[in-house]
Structures are given as structure tokens and as C-alpha cells.
């Protein structure tokens, strides 16, 4: 049993990242750093100044789970920044761009600290050969950690450049000023650009990483809206996603999938497929796949394979919640628990108590670009382009699968057609590489939508029991909370409750499950904020008033009040068919409050208006942030209202977009975003937490509109039956 850290400093706790990985990924691998020939950098980028940090330090800072490396001596230098002879600045990061706009926001932070125009900065991201080791793009950690890292590197680099100018002029460095990539000496009116300073040099500088940083209140480039990096390539179709990468002689691959989950291959006849000209067939253990010059031939070849599978009987979605509860592990080692005071001893002090159970279904990430890879073997070396959030983990996966030494594997992540936590793993990369190895040619493998819905992993389903009690004045006295399987993220309550017992129970999960945007925070916010609404109702208190009565945290109070004000909370009373609801909370350094208005006509639910207030510290890119928040509301609406994976006996029942409904234009409410820009607070990530308020806000609004309390997500896959409560 471990006590979870939770407060405003959560992000500073190294276990947080480790914890996130343990929670949802079974593939945590040891990071290795291998020396890279820095002359290679100069070959690629030309001369100039290369800014490096000893790798041990850089990775242990980036990775909480990297603590085991602390006793190792640094093996290499990580190169973070290059200032070219033409003044072009290149920053290197193992983070990837999956639509969260980190390529832009990180470049802004480099430009800010280096004092160069944003247009002169480009990022090389997610390339295991060029970028420093990185654990992965998840957990909303790009802004607080990588943003901070690149700010430090850039500020240090600025100091190095100023020093170079001072030496050249025999001037005092402290008297020099720098702006727009130029250093000048006001005393002598001399000016020199970074480009001139580094001209003709191939200089690698090791820098300290604790320079003084520019406070957010002085930001000029960061903190202001910046257009998406390479935006033009996305409106012309020029950007090459993994699915668009083409290599000479490349084949198209297809994997022959088992008949059901956990199926064993009993027999396999590939002879008919092998007769088709130009087809390469792989049958290796339980893996069967084909590749050919075009997709039509690949399709025919895969259909010509006769495979017999034997699958064990498996449960269906109808039995899901019983199964999770029964299958919960009671061993203390597996539980995550937080205890404060005594739930048992305080029970008698409550004037009212409430006990309810909430459930959430399995849902699918449904990234519009399916999992894909292009794999090429050349001179014993494997290069794979693939859309993953964890290029270095996929590199390890590949090295292990093909028994290669890691320096012979390179993973490159083109800016990817979204991920939402769904692309932590390297299935397509491994499969594509296996096919390419057999064919002796590069192979592109793009998962079909059906494969994506079936063989990817899912947002965990869960059962959540909440038992609570409050005194006559509405102050909550005890809070008992048990989450089965869905996950512990954000399961702690931000409200002031003297007696709490909050427990996460891992369970025997019937489907492959893993990370999903905000992890379990969406489920835990749904359960907690629905329950808060029910308690408020018990005490005949306004839901906002009830929350504020039980809430001390200033930043969370501020977003509740900001959202309520913009929404006009309390100004309009619910009428039959029209209701208002709210929900909010704290997770990953972000404070969120969401208000929703729904209309329920003849059982059909339409969310008509949403206001979401969000505080993630100092805002780096306001327009980009607003886009993330509104998008998260929209995506969260799907899981709130209608998304659910149905399954039966090891098969997914609805593995198509015609059967698995995701939000569309016609589901769009009016969305107003209120940014609470706290320049005095550290910038935190914003890709995930904005998704967590919408489900409880909508559920509570449905209750206000209809009197029906729905305690399961999705709330209304086929409308609201009359008076379900």
C-alpha cells in the first residue's frame, strides 16, 4: 500500500511520472544513453554552436523513474540546441507532436529565453538518433518539464553567446544587451549577430542548467499567441504523417489477426497466398502477415491464408462491472490508498449520508490516423517511422523483438495524427519491421480502423463506490471512495474533508487497457462531482454554493467562480427539459471548472452550451491553449454521452465508426473558454485536465432538466428513458 502524494506540488513529486507509467503501462523499460558522435550533428546542421548537457543530469531531471541512473557516471553529452552559421536555431527534444501543439509552444519558449525571433527557431522532435532520451509525451509533462528544460538550455546558451561577444570585444559581459538574436554593447555601439558570432565554428559547449530564467510577466514571445509551426503544410496536404512516408521499393503490409483475444493459432495454411506473384508471407509463431507492392494484392493475399484459431471463452460487456468488482485484487501491495482521520469514527456525526455507485465504460481513443509504421532494414540497421508517444520505448521494444543492439535501431516520429494517450506502444512498428525483414524491402503497415478499434488498448472501464456524509450545515465530514480498475488519477478529493479513505483497487481487466487522455481523472471527476451534486441536492443547497462551502483551495475556487460568472450560474432556473450542471477539480497542475446547459426533448439529449474555466499557471500560447480546451470539451462529450466499446467473448462488437459514435459537428455546443492566466505560477500542461469537467457537468445538468440521475458513462447512448431515477 502506498500513500499518494496530492496537492498543488504534485508535479514536483518524482513518483508522479513513475506512477503514471506503472498505472497504465506494463512496458516501462530502462533508459539507456549511447554516445552520439557530435561531429554527426555538424554534418547534418552545418557549423555553429552546439549546446550540450551531461546526459545523466538531463535524463534524471526529465525522468522521475530514472533515479536508478543517478549512481552511473555520465556516458555522453546530450545535445539540446544548435545555433547555425545562418542564425537558424535548432532545438532537440524527444517529445513528439501529436496535435497538442508542443512544437509551437516549445519553440516559443526557446525564442523567449534565447532572445531570437520565433521564425528562426525550429524543433527536431522524437528522433531517437538526434534527440536526447525522453520517456515519452504523456502526463501533460511537456510544458512543465520540457518547456522548463528548453528554457534553461536557451537561457544558458544566451549567456554563452554573450560571453563569446564579450571576449571578442574584450568587453564586460554584464554590460552587453541582447535582442532579436543580436548582442550589442551600448558603450561602443558595436553589434554582432549570433550568426556572425558562431560563423566558422564547430563549437560544442557544455553548459550549466540553472541559469536565471525570464519571469512570465516579462515574456514577449512566450505568453502571446503564435501560429502553429508548419501550419501551411497541414492545409495543403504537404505534411507527411507516418502513413504518408514513402520509400523506394516499399511494400504494403497487412497482418492476419486472430479470431478473438487470447486466441492460439492451431493451424495455418499460407500456400495459396504464397502462389500470388510478388507476395511475401510471414508465419512466425502466432504472427501471420503479408506484404506486396500494392494494397489490393496485400488484401487478396491475407484473405487467401487459412488460419484456425482457438480462443478461450471470455466475458461480455453485460458482465463487465460485476467482473471488475469480483476480480479486484485485495492484496495490499497492489492498492493505492489515501487515509485521513477515521471514516468509521466520524460516520455518526453526519446528519445525512449518501452511498452510490458510478460506472464508466471502456472507450476507444479513435485517433484519426490509425497506428502505422514504415520500416526499413539497411546494413543490419533498422529504421522505423511510426506515430508513437514514446519513441525511445518503441526503440527498446524493437531492439528486444529483433535482438538488436539499440544503436542499430532508430525510431522517427513524424508529427502524428493524434494519440490521446493511445499511442504509447509500438505494435505497428514491430509488425512492420517483421514484415520488412521477411520481404527484404521497406514495408508500410497502416492498421485498418477495425484493427484500431480491436487491437489497440482501451480507456479502462471502472466501478466507483462513494459513501459520504455531511453535517447539517452541509460541511462534508467523511468521504469513502473505492475505485475498481478505472485508475487512481485524480481520485483524491480537492474538498476539505477531515475523514477520508480513498482506495484504488486494481482488477482483472477483461480487455487490454492503458493510458487515455487524462487517465482515470475523467472517471474520478465524474464520480466525485456527480456525488457532490447529489449531496448538494440532499441538503437543498445550490451545487456551486455547496462546493465552495467545502473548498479552500484558492485556485480551484477561482476557476469555479470564473466559470459560474461567465455562464451566468444561478441566474436562470432549470425548467422541464432544460437544465444546468457543473463539475470541476484539480489534476496535473491544472484547475478546471465546467458549466453545461443541456436540453432534453423526448429523451434526446443535446448539450447546448458549455463554459470552461482553466488555470494552468502562466499561459504560453493563449490561442493554442483555447484550442486544446475547447477540443478536450468536445472529445470529453463523446465519453460523457455516447461512446462505449461493446464486447462479447473476446471480440469487439462495434469496431467501426458507423457503430462507435464519436462527436460530430451536430453535437457541438456553444463553448466559451475562460483562461485564468497566472503569470506568478509555473506553466503546466493543458492537454488532459480540460477533458475532465464535462461529463459530470452534463450528468448534473441532465438531472436538473429531467430529475433522472444517471450514474454511468456514457450517460445517454440512446437517450434518456422517462424518469430513470
Amino acid at each position: 500500500m502506498r500513500n499518494l502524494p496530492l496537492d498543488g506540488e504534485l508535479v514536483e513529486v518524482p513518483e508522479a511520472q513513475d506512477f503514471e507509467l506503472r498505472q497504465h503501462d506494463s512496458i516501462l523499460r530502462l533508459p539507456h544513453a549511447f554516445s552520439f558522435d557530435r561531429r554527426g550533428f555538424f554534418k547534418v546542421l552545418g557549423g555553429g554552436l552546439l549546446v550540450c548537457i551531461a546526459a545523466r543530469h538531463a535524463t534524471s531531471q526529465e525522468s522521475g523513474a530514472g533515479a536508478h541512473r543517478d549512481h552511473e557516471p555520465p556516458k555522453t553529452l546530450d545535445s539540446w540546441l544548435h545555433i547555425g552559421e545562418n542564425g537558424e536555431v535548432t532545438a532537440f527534444t524527444g517529445k513528439v507532436e501529436v496535435g497538442q501543439n508542443a512544437r509551437t509552444s516549445l519553440a516559443q519558449q526557446v525564442a523567449e529565453e534565447l532572445r531570437v525571433p520565433l521564425t528562426s527557431v525550429r524543433l527536431i522532435m522524437g528522433d531517437t538518433e538526434l534527440t536526447p532520451y525522453d520517456m515519452g509525451t504523456f502526463g501533460s509533462r511537456t510544458t512543465p518539464q520540457m518547456g522548463m528544460q528548453l528554457r534553461k538550455v536557451s537561457a544558458s546558451a544566451r549567456a554563452v553567446l554573450i560571453q563569446m561577444a564579450a571576449e571578442r570585444w574584450s568587453a564586460d559581459a554584464s554590460g552587453l544587451v541582447v535582442q532579436e538574436g543580436k548582442i550589442s554593447d551600448p558603450k561602443t555601439n558595436r553589434t554582432i549577430s549570433y550568426a556572425e558570432l558562431v560563423h566558422g565554428q564547430k563549437l560544442a559547449k557544455l553548459i550549466p542548467d540553472d541559469p536565471e530564467l525570464t519571469p512570465a510577466s516579462d515574456w514577449k514571445v512566450a505568453g502571446a499567441s503564435a501560429p502553429k509551426a508548419n501550419g501551411r503544410d497541414f492545409v495543403t496536404g504537404a505534411h507527411q504523417y507516418t502513413t504518408d512516408v514513402g520509400l523506394p521499393g516499399m511494400l504494403h503490409g497487412k497482418v492476419v489477426r486472430p479470431s478473438a483475444f487470447h486466441a492460439k493459432l492451431m493451424s495455418c495454411d499460407t500456400s495459396q497466398a504464397e502462389k500470388i506473384p510478388g507476395v511475401s508471407v510471414v508465419h512466425d509463431g502466432d504472427f501471420i502477415g503479408v506484404s506486396a507492392m500494392d494494397v489490393m494484392t496485400t488484401g487478396r493475399a491475407s484473405q487467401a491464408i487459412r488460419a484456425q484459431w482457438d480462443a478461450p471463452p471470455q466475458i461480455s460487456d453485460r458482465e463487465l462491472f460485476d467482473h471488475l468488482r469480483k476480480g479486484a485484487s485485495d492484496e495490499n501491495d497492489n492498492k493505492e490508498q489515501f487515509v485521513l482521520g477515521s471514516v468509521e469514527q466520524s460516520r455518526a456525526q453526519a446528519s445525512k449520508t449518501l452511498q452510490q455507485t458510478y460506472t464508466v465504460a471502456y472507450i476507444a481513443h479513435t485517433p484519426l490516423e490509425p497506428r502505422a509504421a514504415v520500416a526499413e532494414w539497411k546494413d543490419g540497421k533498422l529504421t522505423v517511422w511510426t506515430g508513437t508517444q514514446r519513441p525511445f520505448a518503441v526503440k527498446e521494444e524493437l531492439a528486444q523483438a529483433f535482438r538488436l543492439s539499440p544503436e542499430n535501431v532508430r525510431v522517427i516520429v513524424p508529427d502524428t495524427g493524434s494519440a490521446y494517450g493511445g499511442k504509447h506502444t509500438g505494435e505497428a512498428a514491430v509488425e512492420g519491421a517483421r514484415l520488412a525483414k521477411a520481404a527484404g524491402k521497406p514495408v508500410k503497415l497502416i492498421w485498418s480502423r477495425e484493427e484500431e478499434f480491436t487491437w489497440a488498448y482501451f480507456r479502462p472501464a471502472g466501478v466507483i463506490d462513494v459513501s459520504s456524509g455531511a453535517k447539517a450545515d452541509g460541511s462534508i465530514i467523511f468521504w469513502e471512495y473505492d475505485n475498481f480498475n478505472s485508475g487512481p488519477a485524480a481520485m483524491r478529493t480537492p474538498y476539505e474533508v477531515a475523514n477520508q479513505r480513498i482506495t484504488f483497487h486494481p482488477a482483472d481487466a477483461p480487455l487490454r487497457q492503458g493510458s487515455y487522455r487524462s487517465l482515470a481523472a475523467a472517471a474520478n471527476h465524474f464520480a466525485r462531482e456527480s456525488h457532490m451534486d447529489e449531496l448538494a441536492h440532499e441538503f437543498r443547497m445550490d451545487p456551486l454554493e455547496f462546493r465552495l462551502k467545502n473548498l479552500k483551495n484558492d485556485r480551484l475556487r477561482a476557476v469555479f467562480q470564473a466559470a459560474a460568472e461567465k455562464f451566468g450560474w444561478g441566474k436562470q432556473k432549470a425548467t422541464p427539459g432544460i437544465g444546468f450542471g457543473l463539475g470541476g477539480g484539480f489534476e496535473k497542475g491544472g484547475y478546471i471548472a465546467t458549466c453545461a446547459e443541456v436540453s432534453v426533448q423526448r429523451g434526446a439529449v443535446k448539450v447546448t452550451r458549455v463554459v470552461e474555466a482553466f488555470d494552468c499557471g502562466a499561459v504560453v500560447n493563449p490561442q493554442g491553449l483555447k484550442n486544446q480546451i475547447a477540443g478536450a470539451v468536445m472529445q470529453g462529450l463523446g465519453g460523457a454521452l455516447f461512446e462505449a466499446i461493446r464486447f462479447e467473448n473476446g471480440r469487439i462488437v462495434n469496431p467501426h465508426l458507423s457503430e462507435y459514435r464519436v462527436p460530430r459537428f451536430s453535437d457541438l455546443p456553444q463553448i466559451d473558454v475562460v483562461l485564468v492566466d497566472r503569470k506568478d505560477q509555473r506553466s503546466m500542461g493543458a492537454g488532459e485536465t480540460p477533458l475532465t469537467g464535462i461529463a459530470p457537468a452534463v450528468g448534473n445538468a441532465i438531472f436538473a432538466a429531467t430529475g433522472s440521475r444517471i450514474r454511468s458513462l456514457p450517460l445517454a447512448p440512446s437517450g434518456i428513458p422517462n424518469k430513470a431515477s
Partner: protein, 158 residues
Amino acid sequence: MAFTLVVNGTEQRVNVEPEKPLLYVLRDDLTLTGTKYGCGEGQCGACTVLVDGSPERSCRLPVSSAAGKKITTIEGLSHGEKLHPIQQAFLDVEAFQCAYCTSGMIVSAAALLERTPNPSDQQIISHMDGNICRCGVYARIIEAVHRAAAILGRAQNA
């Protein structure tokens, strides 16, 4: 079988199976990869192209049905450096996140603006409802269509 297609104003001859979806002819045979695969069932709109001016789901359209017709893909909307107003509008209001749906969105919207130069919100929503943006950027896409309509209107009045 050999088919002749007029793609973005250029005559192209391809020798492929008649039932090969136009999507793969464009992407694999003609290396026009701006048109995306999203679902293969005509549900997401990422593969939308114009066939004789009408938006079609190229993942469900056999190449034999497109033979001899005028096909416009995302690559055919801009002219050199000059973007189509709807492309410019998407860029201006940043109507994308991961942008994988963007080609299909832009092509669908271009078809709408061709027929309905000044569409209402409701007309945009019903025309575009077959295009999925999983990142949820719908509100900005609607804004971009209005903006493009305004640009086109100004150009016409000028």
C-alpha cells in the same frame, strides 16, 4: 486495367484493378498523400475529394467509377504559393490540432462554398457532419468556413 483520370487538371493514366478504391490510386499510384485514410467505411470524411465538383469519399469509390472524371484533391486547391481562401481561412483561425482530418475538411468545405457561397451555421453543420475531427476543433472549422465565405464574397465584389 488502364484508366485515365484527370487529377488536379492533369491527365493521369494508371494501370490498376478496377475495384481499387480511388483513395489508394491517389495515395499509392500517384503519390498524392494529402488525401487520408481514416476509416475505409465512408464515415469520417478524411478521404474526401471532389469528383466533377462533388465531394466523394474516395475510400469507397472504385477507380473504375472515377475514370474520365475530373478529380480535385487537397493538392489541387492551391495555386503555387496562393492558397485557396478556405485553406487560408483554416490557417488564419487555426482550425486544426493534429490536422489529420484537415484535407478532408477543407475539400468538403470548398464544395459547400461552391454551391452555397454564404452558408449559415446550420448549413455548414449539416454539410460537414460526415467529417470527423477527433481533436474536436469543430467550432473553429465553422468559423473558418464563414471567414472563407467572406474572403470569396469580397473577391467577387471587388
